[in-house]
Symmetry: C2
Subunit: 226 residues, 2 copies
């Protein structure tokens, strides 16, 4: 029997990966033990927040949206700064994608832990993956291991960060979604860096997603929305 402390909190962006991770958590911990948290960090594509709400509702779990105004105040990245265009290009100096928001996943998971701390949950679930990871260093397994130690020591509570997609390719993530019964929910998700729905099909995020579905031989239900 699952104890209160075995409650799980899923960081849900409304995208393909976090949605798949939500269904993974439901299978692993049971629907009644799972809730989700979404961060409004000033992302240009507000539709992500609506997608997260819709996904959580379809999955039958609670969804809380917490504001983070700090990234927009920091500025300089393509996801929150209106002056920086989303592109496939890397920053000349750092060689990281212009869509890199420094520390984004560290902050998300630390705030998720602070929220879980107040709600007596200790399992944190995130859809980060180092396979196909698009050059984001905060998605790596070593980063998550260090972060798990930092939040466990920093809040004096034994948190576990679960990363069910860490070593899965996009193809394998699609296969997992099918296996978990999450395929239908994929129609509710958002992936496109250009904020398009149906997806633009041109940006790096759309191309990665389309590649995964193609390799898995599965039709992406997002392509059939009107």
């Amino acid at each position: 029997m699952i104890q209160p402390r075995d409650n799980a909190l899923v960081v849900l962006s409304g995208g393909q990966d976090s949605t798949t991770s939500l269904y993974w958590a439901i299978e692993r911990f049971g629907r009644a033990s799972v809730s989700s948290i979404t961060f409004d960090y000033g992302q240009k594509h507000r539709i992500e927040l609506e997608c997260a709400r819709n996904v959580a509702a379809a999955a039958g779990v609670a969804n809380v949206c917490l504001p983070i105004d700090t990234f927009a105040a920091l500025g300089g990245d393509a996801l929150t700064d209106a002056a920086v265009a989303v592109s496939d290009e890397a920053d000349e100096e750092t060689e990281l994608p212009v869509t890199f928001v420094p520390g984004r996943n560290l902050i998300f998971i630390t705030f998720a832990a602070a929220f879980a701390y107040r709600r007596d949950a200790r399992h944190l679930v995130t859809g980060v993956a180092q396979t196909d990871y698009s050059g984001y260093p905060d998605c790596r397994e070593a980063t998550m291991a260090a972060l798990q130690e930092a939040i466990t020591l920093g809040m004096d509570r034994e948190f576990m960060i679960h990363t069910p997609l860490m070593h899965r390719t996009k193809k394998e993530t699609v296969e997992l979604a099918v296996q978990l019964g999450a395929l239908e929910a994929m129609a509710l998700t958002h992936t496109c860096y250009n904020g398009c729905r149906p997806p633009c099909g041109e940006c790096q995020a759309c191309r990665l997603r389309a590649g995964g579905f193609a390799e898995a031989g599965v039709r992406d239900p997002l392509l059939d929305i009107r």
Copy 2:
């Protein structure tokens, strides 16, 4: 010669410890390489932000204030939640002080790193101390070591977290401030949990501060402001 990457960013709360750490950083890295960052996280005592500005101005370094609205949205702690009274009591369940904001220092330092990332600085300086640490687990050396690894891996940049006060008692911190020429600046700082200026002298923070000055045999200039 100090390289641009040897720039230092001090997390400045406007209190005694972070002010002493600022002067430590100025001696260690040189005034021209040091700047400071302060977080407006919805603290009840807004005077802290003004104190941080005044301290930075007196020390001759830049001060940037970044907003963090997330802690107030989380609620439940005595420093940001109007419904929770500041007291010396511990939370019945966790045995941590009611003034504990889960993850506060983790978040501050991660955002400081994100800011430093954009400004080509890699030294982060914080006044946390595990001696006399009042029961805050996010002030411990082990927490800081894990966090340093998480931000270094997560942003792919070799950050160093400096904690000059980590093993100093309050008495030794006062002695360090005297040695660094920071005593006068102590009149500009804020410590009191009750938001009083001059200090209430009754709360735990005031008593800790007064004890340190008394043991060091130094008159706290904050007591002489009008």
